[in-house]
């Protein structure tokens, strides 16, 4: 195992860009390589050793045996894990824009908050964020109509607006709350949200699944209530509990599935019967 440890010496007001520094590209780099490397900052480049002390331990035969440990403050370092194919990156601070963007394999762990576009268009691997993320988590590049196509993003905190925009595959799991328009334009894949959702999840979705365990603020008109389901199974995973199932967005002839927790969103139902056969009773009520 080869461990490359970055210890920060100084920060920059203009963001540094780490898109060229991922396990698959730096696997064979020696101290001389690092001393010679100049990191992009704005429209210029500067020696990376001006900003970091870099320690290298061990050897690696493949990128999967490379681990980069980033110590210090990476709140102004963009593109950490960009186009990474294998290996591991551990960030012991916040991270700036595009963390894990376009990665196709490996693991990126951020022990802090991450700015917007985390996991943008990733096609494989795992991005785990212990804090919050801002807008466009697992989304497409601005204007693009294909977002994340594979892999997994786990956000232990809250996610910002348009999480999973244009999702075309893979899974996003937000353990906290989610802002508006989660899963907008999605065509495939799964978004699971443990907390509450502000408004309009799944806007203009064509397919895929959104599971919300918390309270939903407001739904779009294009979602048609189907039924109340118990312990639904989505992509081989069972979600225990009772959920209101919607299909949508019919504005785009969409066939996506939106499951929201029935009990926490009981105000969406005209009546709620606290009996053993409550679900049947609700169904009967609906059909009247």
């Amino acid at each position: 195992m080869k461990i490359i440890t970055f210890n920060q010496k100084k920060t920059s007001k203009i963001a540094l860009e780490f898109d060229e520094i991922v396990p698959n590209t730096v696997m064979d780099w020696t101290k001389e390589n690092w001393d010679a490397y100049q990191v992009p900052i704005g429209n210029s480049r500067f020696p990376i050793t001006d900003f970091f002390d870099i320690e290298i331990e061990g050897e690696a035969d493949s990128p999967s045996q490379v681990k980069m440990v980033l110590n210090g403050d990476y709140g102004r370092v963009k593109y950490i894990g960009f186009r990474m194919t294998d290996g591991e990156i551990e960030v012991n601070s916040n991270a700036d824009l595009h963390a894990g963007a376009e990665m196709s394999g490996g693991l990126v762990t951020v022990h802090g908050n991450v700015e917007a576009h985390a996991g943008r268009e990733m096609s494989g691997g795992k991005l785990e964020i212990m804090g919050n993320t801002k807008e466009f988590t697992g989304a497409s590049y601005i204007g693009e109509w294909r977002g994340m196509t594979g892999g997994e993003i786990i956000v232990h905190g809250n996610a910002g607006k348009q999480c999973g925009e244009c999702l075309t595959g893979g899974k996003i799991h937000v353990l906290g709350d989610c802002d508006i328009l989660a899963g907008i334009h999605m065509t495939k894949g799964t978004i699971e949200i443990d907390g509450n959702v502000n408004r309009w999840p799944g806007g203009q979705m064509k397919n895929g699944n959104i599971i919300i365990h918390g309270k939903v603020g407001r739904l779009l008109e294009g979602f048609v209530e189907q039924d109340i389901v118990t312990d639904p199974e989505v992509d081989g995973v069972t979600y225990p509990g009772r959920y209101i199932e919607y299909k949508g967005d019919i504005a785009l002839n969409g066939k996506g599935t939106l499951l929201i927790d029935a009990e926490k969103n009981r105000d969406r139902l005209s009546t709620w019967i606290e009996e053993d056969d409550e679900y049947n009773a609700i169904r009967v009520y609906r059909n009247q």
Partner: protein, 572 residues
């Protein structure tokens, strides 16, 4: 600066030079007959030497491009490269930023590009963009086909007034020629409609496409402009549209070509653009097939028309045209994001991304029809290489198209190996065409013919006195078979060994070594100044009432132009 390009294999169709080993002498930006022996020698032994390329139809500057770039940021991130000592940073694939456009043309050995659709109202901005496209000269064509004044003159058959209007508006917009896009159709789009066929009327104008096209053609020849009318016929992209195309072109036979000096270079009275999009049979996309044979047969038997193809290249691109209703139709089919841009009283444009996948039947049909037209039109002087950039594909794919044209085995390989959808051989005759272009033909359709079509008398050939616009490619035709090496053909034409513009070496071995300001080429009609003044006075009340900007700010003043070349047309 004086030098000689020594021992190149020269392909210069305008001078009927076909692969002869020759020296080309350059002095002060021009090609000259000879130079003293002691001048600098640039050794190009056994390399292909051609005049620099001339693109007769592309969309490289103007309001459509701006809308496209704004609403497709995802395109801008493709093709990004960092600045160098010579170049600014590059960005964009199908709609690259302005400097990038110039760099990429230059790397391919091109020197001149026609911006094919400039609304007079947005001409200022178009010229501002042209000024930032380094290394290539640009001649923009002004849009007239849906102009309210033009439709009025055409309905009333006031050809002289129309000619005066054209002369005035070429001067005002600093345009080079007359462009017609979906005549009457783009105006109809203002009412949510389109016209279908050549004899449909524009709403509220009581004028047909036929009347507009013929009136503009007559006025064009009356003025004796260097370029003929440049037409994008009605019904673009619709299955079964080829009768409209042939109707349109057939009607031009009654037009008599001007004998005035500026018009002498060209042979045609009409140039039809992106003919591939206008050569479809069938009634719907379910039964659509190729009508390339019928259209090519018509082209072969006429002597008054030229065309460019608009070859599909199998890329994700951005379509943009002043044929707004067609773009709306495309939006309804694809569902991709769509933008519309209305130009008051003049035209309307639409923009939509398009994915030409070789696995889809329609894109494959379009690809095959384009190649069929190239191969079925007998005279290379009648056909020019274009992709209608960016509509059928980005211009950087020209080398790939050249490789397809030079290699029948490569075309068959694509069909037989299933690289393209089966419609390529089930609904077209491409599989039965064995013709292959040679270097002379390629030089014709990329240099000599486009220059002649546009009436240029200073480029497109290696004639002494012409601009020293030269391209050198690293191929030796004497020991190289392009039919068997299509990849090598594509590589060589993508990265010119040398690109020389006005005598200055801009590109070496595919890398830019210098950049230069572009020339903005426009047509200055002489002899009709009184008529121009009269017609401007005549339209002024209407202009003041209906246009949202003032006449004084409408006009393009000289300082908007980058190193202008005013091609004079002596109309009287």
């Amino acid at each position: 600066m004086e030098y000689v390009l020594k021992n190149g294999l020269v392909y210069d169709p305008a001078n009927e030079i076909n692969g002869e080993k020759m020296d080309i002498f350059v002095k002060d930006g021009k090609i000259v007959e000879s130079l003293p022996d002691d001048v600098k020698v640039i050794d190009v032994t056994d390399k292909v030497v051609m005049p620099a390329g001339v693109d007769p139809h592309a969309h490289v500057a103007g309001p459509k491009l701006v809308v496209g770039r704004l609403y497709r940021p995802e395109d801008s991130r493709r093709g990004v490269s960092q600045k160098t000592k010579v170049e600014r940073a590059e960005a964009g694939f199908s709609i690259p930023c302005c400097p990038t456009t110039g760099y990429r043309y230059s790397r391919m050995g091109y020197g001149t590009v026609c911006e094919a659709a400039m609304p007079a109202m947005e001409a200022k901005h178009t010229h501002e963009e042209i000024a930032t496209i380094r290394n290539i000269d640009v001649n923009p064509l002004t849009l007239f086909g849906n102009n309210w004044f033009v439709m009025e003159y055409a309905r009333e058959n006031r050809i002289e007034d129309l000619a005066a209007y054209i002369a005035a508006f070429l001067r005002i917009s600093k345009g080079y020629g007359v462009k017609i896009v979906n005549p009457c159709g783009s105006e109809a789009w203002g009412w949510g409609k389109n016209v279908h066929g050549y004899d449909d009327k524009a709403p509220y104008f009581d004028v047909t496409s036929r009347q507009v096209v013929l009136a503009l053609a007559k006025a064009n020849e009356m003025l004796g402009l260097p370029h003929s009318i440049h037409i994008h016929p009605n019904d673009l992209g619709h299955p079964g549209n080829y009768p409209t195309t042939i109707d349109t072109l057939d009607s031009i036979k009654e037009i008599t070509k001007s004998t005035k000096k500026a018009a002498k270079t060209r042979n045609q009275t009409v140039h039809t653009t992106h003919l591939q999009f206008h050569s479809y049979g069938g009634n719907s996309w379910k039964d659509a097939d190729s009508a390339a044979d019928k259209v090519a047969k018509f082209v072969n038997k006429t002597d008054y028309m030229t065309c460019d193809i608009g070859q599909v290249t199998f890329d994700e691109t951005t379509t943009m045209t002043a044929d707004a209703p067609m773009e709306y139709d495309l939006f309804k089919i694809s569902g991709l994001k769509w933008a519309n841009k209305d130009i008051e009283c003049e035209t309307a444009a639409g923009i939509i991304p398009c994915i030409y996948s070789p696995k889809t039947p329609v894109a494959t049909l379009q690809w095959a029809i384009g190649l069929e037209l190239f191969l079925l039109i007998d005279d290379p002087w009648k056909v020019c290489l274009t992709t209608d950039h960016p509509n059928a594909g980005p211009f950087i794919r020209y080398p790939r198209i050249i490789s397809w044209l030079m290699s029948a085995p490569r075309r068959m390989e694509m069909i037989e190996n299933g690289e393209v959808h089966k419609w390529s051989h089930k609904r077209t005759g491409l599989a039965g065409l064995e013709r292959e272009y040679d270097f002379y033909d390629i030089a014709t359709i990329t240099r000599a013919a486009p220059a002649k079509v546009h009436g240029f008398t200073d480029r497109g050939a290696l004639t002494p006195g012409y601009n020293a616009d030269i391209a050198v490619y690293g191929l030796n035709p004497n020991d190289f078979d392009p039919s068997r090496n299509p990849e090598e053909v594509e590589r060589a034409f993508s990265w010119a060994n040398l690109t020389i513009k006005d005598g200055q070496i801009l590109c070496k071995d595919g890398d830019l070594v210098a950049t230069k300001k572009p020339h903005d080429i426009w047509c200055d009609v002489k002899g009709w100044e009184e008529e121009e003044a009269r017609i401007c006075n005549e339209i002024m009340p209407f202009f003041t009432q209906y246009y949202s900007i003032k006449w004084e700010t409408y006009q393009v003043y000289d300082h908007y132009l980058s190193d202008p070349i005013a091609v004079q047309a002596l109309a009287k």
